[in-house]
């Protein structure tokens, strides 16, 4: 290496203040993309200007489910598939909080799929970040609701024949007010999207494609993490505003990335407060409304 060791250690990594350093090293494999997304998230938090004491992060179970445990925020590692309803309780009980759900594709869209669609429908004010590695990493590489047709997984030993979800289309159809997809190659765009989502009122959703070298790439002879990032670089096409119907992922084919949805809709709490004010008048005790505004 041409960079002297001393020089490396003297540079303060800007992400470090966001990490529970006493918990490092983390559990993720070499070449895994989750750490890159955390890096982007830390940058987004810095740039968002949010009061970090008021940011809560909630994860489910799985490799991405461990993110909450590494971030120096109020952080909740819940049960498999259920970070969204936990986050719903947090947000509605204390509307001052900025609530982020950070979890994997299996957690959010298989076991947790029902919660995702309803939180989006209700427009609960939260940001959901889904790290999509097309597989169940922590349990050893089983088929996920995002595994492309043709990819081999331990529970699809002859190749997957199930149609995967098109996640941005699902989020869009359910009413999310912000929907974007990026890959861990697009670190600047991803950090910017995370910042936008954090500052967006309502249910915002970001899908991040990330390599799982140990259990998806190797099993499918797709190389290492760096090979996957090269694939993201070569095959990604940025189409902001693309119709989400058109952004389904194939098996190692073109990836459409970008910001697909950015719209306004009253959040659940706004709808509740304005409705009850109308129908109950002075009898209504507003909830989470500061100075009668907001």
């Amino acid at each position: 290496m041409s960079v002297p060791q001393q020089a490396i250690t003297e540079i303060e990594n800007p992400v470090m203040p966001f990490l529970r350093q006493e918990r490092i090293p983390h559990i993720w494999c070499p070449g895994c993309g989750i750490g890159t997304t955390v890096n982007c998230f830390a940058r987004a938090l810095t740039e968002s200007g949010l009061d970090l004491d008021k940011v809560a992060i909630v994860s489910g179970i799985g490799c991405t489910g461990r993110v909450a445990g590494y971030l120096r925020l109020d952080s909740f590692h819940t049960t498999h598939g259920r970070p969204i309803p936990f986050a719903t309780g947090l947000k509605l009980a204390n509307p001052e909080l900025k609530v982020v759900v950070y979890s994997g594709d299996g957690d959010l869209f298989a076991i947790g799929g029902n919660h995702f669609i309803h939180a989006a429908r209700r427009n609960i004010d939260m940001t959901v970040i889904c790290v999509n590695n097309h597989t169940y990493g922590m349990t050893g590489g089983q088929v996920a609701p995002t595994t492309p047709i043709g990819a081999t997984q331990t529970t699809m030993p002859y190749g997957n024949f199930e149609e995967p979800f098109n996640l941005p289309f699902l989020a869009d159809a359910c009413g999310a007010v912000y929907v974007a997809r990026w890959t861990v190659y697009h670190v600047r765009q991803l950090a910017r999207a995370m910042k936008e989502a954090l500052l967006k009122k309502g249910f915002s959703f970001i899908e991040v494609l990330a390599p799982c070298p140990t259990l998806f790439l190797r099993r499918n002879r797709l190389g290492e993490g760096v090979d996957e990032v090269k694939y993201y670089k070569e095959k990604s096409v940025i189409k902001n505003g693309a119709d989400t119907k058109e952004v389904a992922l194939g098996y190692h084919s073109e990836i459409i990335v970008g910001k697909f949805v950015d719209r306004e809709r009253p959040t659940w709490l706004e709808a509740m407060n304005s409705h009850f004010s109308k129908v109950l008048g002075d009898k209504f005790v507003p909830w989470g409304v500061q100075n009668g505004q907001d």
């Binding site: 445990g69 590692h77 259920r82 969204i84 309803p85 309780g89 947000k91 659940w268």
Partner: protein, 386 residues
């Protein structure tokens, strides 16, 4: 602390158990309910949905019971008192989050208006067959508290106690009603707010950086809490964890944590006795009952006494932890216990365990769908006397 007078419907009401349960929760300070419709418990959340906009708080009907049982825990960690309300099939779906509440030590209340089971069973008719599920239903070892009211008045009174116990011990507290108690309409007296004792959450006095979420500061083994948004930047997990709340994947951490989760209730067992006794001293046979069955049992006890028999009656208002010390004292002094319940024999197993063969134990099982006939219990009492 006293209840909030703006929230308490002081006065004399003619009210069913489900509605009284809701009023008890509001009086106790519950300001967040997440629920899913299920007979015969729905009236509890319907009333909460109607009442809470004028009190200040949130009701949300979630997409299922799994979501409801974890949404309440999010609300608790954001600083509110919260409950969910369900019946048999819904309780089965909630079991994972009963375990989470035990593991995170989330103070919260699970109301179960019991109906006949298993599965969809008898949606509109009573049962008491969830008693063991309440105690043991989630995987792993942990402790809970469960109460069983036998009237609408007790649905109000004991609900306040349920919330208070949840805060004191940081465990999920079960409120084991049944369809008859839930739908029975009786006189309910709601006292002045100033007469209602409400236990507030015990928050840490430590500063951020010094506070550890699972560090016990006294011999209650119940650590003080924090809530999200106060700058503590704390972490909690359903994984086995150390005092810092960080995952600790080893046998030593598991032993320390699980023993404490059991021991915090074990240690408080004598304080957690709530039973109503009559005629136990000098009795030949003692009937042990709870919930709606206790009212039928009392009729049977009177019938037996009218025949000159010496019969005692113990009614459990706190069912879990089981009052083993008191039942153990009586065992050996009486010829037999008779345990009627609207299931095929659940709490009777506890009576048998505690009496350790010193008294005979008779079960009066009932599959549910309606309450016992007093004669069924009376006949068993007479058989036990022989």
């Amino acid at each position: 602390m006293k209840a909030d007078p703006k929230a308490v419907l002081t006065g004399i009401h003619f009210m069913d158990g489900d509605h009284a349960c809701c009023e008890g929760a509001i009086a106790a300070g519950c300001r967040f309910v997440a629920g899913y419709p299920i007979t015969p418990s729905t009236e509890v959340v319907e009333r909460f949905a109607q009442r809470i906009p004028t009190v200040g708080g949130v009701f949300i009907q979630m997409e299922d019971e799994i979501a409801s049982s974890i949404a309440i825990q999010g609300a608790v960690w954001a600083g509110l008192k919260a409950m969910t309300v369900t019946s048999g099939p819904g309780l089965s779906l909630m079991m994972e989050h009963v375990g989470l509440a035990a593991m995170l030590e989330t103070p919260c209340v699970f109301v179960d208006v019991q109906r006949g089971g298993p599965s969809t069973g008898l949606p509109t008719l009573p049962g008491q067959a969830d008693m063991m599920q309440a105690r043991w239903g989630s995987h792993g070892d942990y402790s809970i508290i469960a109460l069983s009211p036998n009237s609408p008045q007790e649905c109000f009174d004991l609900m306040i106690k349920a919330f208070n116990l949840a805060e004191i011990y940081r465990v999920p507290v079960f409120f084991m009603m049944d369809e008859v108690v839930g739908h029975m309409t009786e006189r309910v007296v709601i006292p002045e707010a100033s007469e209602i004792e409400v236990v507030e959450r015990r928050y840490t006095t430590k500063k951020p950086g010094e506070y550890k979420p699972y560090e016990c500061e006294d011999d209650t083994l119940v650590p003080p809490m924090v809530k999200a948004g106060d700058g503590y930047r704390f972490h909690i997990t359903g994984l086995t964890h150390d005092e810092r709340g960080y995952p600790a994947m080893n046998a030593q951490a598991q032993d320390k944590l699980v023993r404490r989760l059991k021991e915090k209730i074990e240690r408080a067992k004598d304080k957690l006795v709530d039973i109503c006794e009559n005629g136990v001293d000098g009795a030949d046979v003692v009937v042990v009952s709870y919930g709606i069955t206790s009212r039928v049992a009392e009729a049977a006890v009177q019938m037996a006494r009218a025949k000159g028999a010496k019969i005692g009656h113990i009614r459990l208002r706190i069912v879990w932890p089981f009052p083993e010390k008191r039942i153990g004292e009586i065992a050996g002094k009486v010829k037999a216990f008779v345990v009627p319940e609207m299931n095929m024999g659940q709490m009777v197993l506890e009576v048998e365990r505690v009496s350790r063969g010193r008294s005979d134990v008779y079960c009066v099982p009932h599959a549910g769908g309606t309450v016992h006939e007093p004669e069924q219990i009376f006949e068993k009492i007479m058989e036990a006397l022989k």
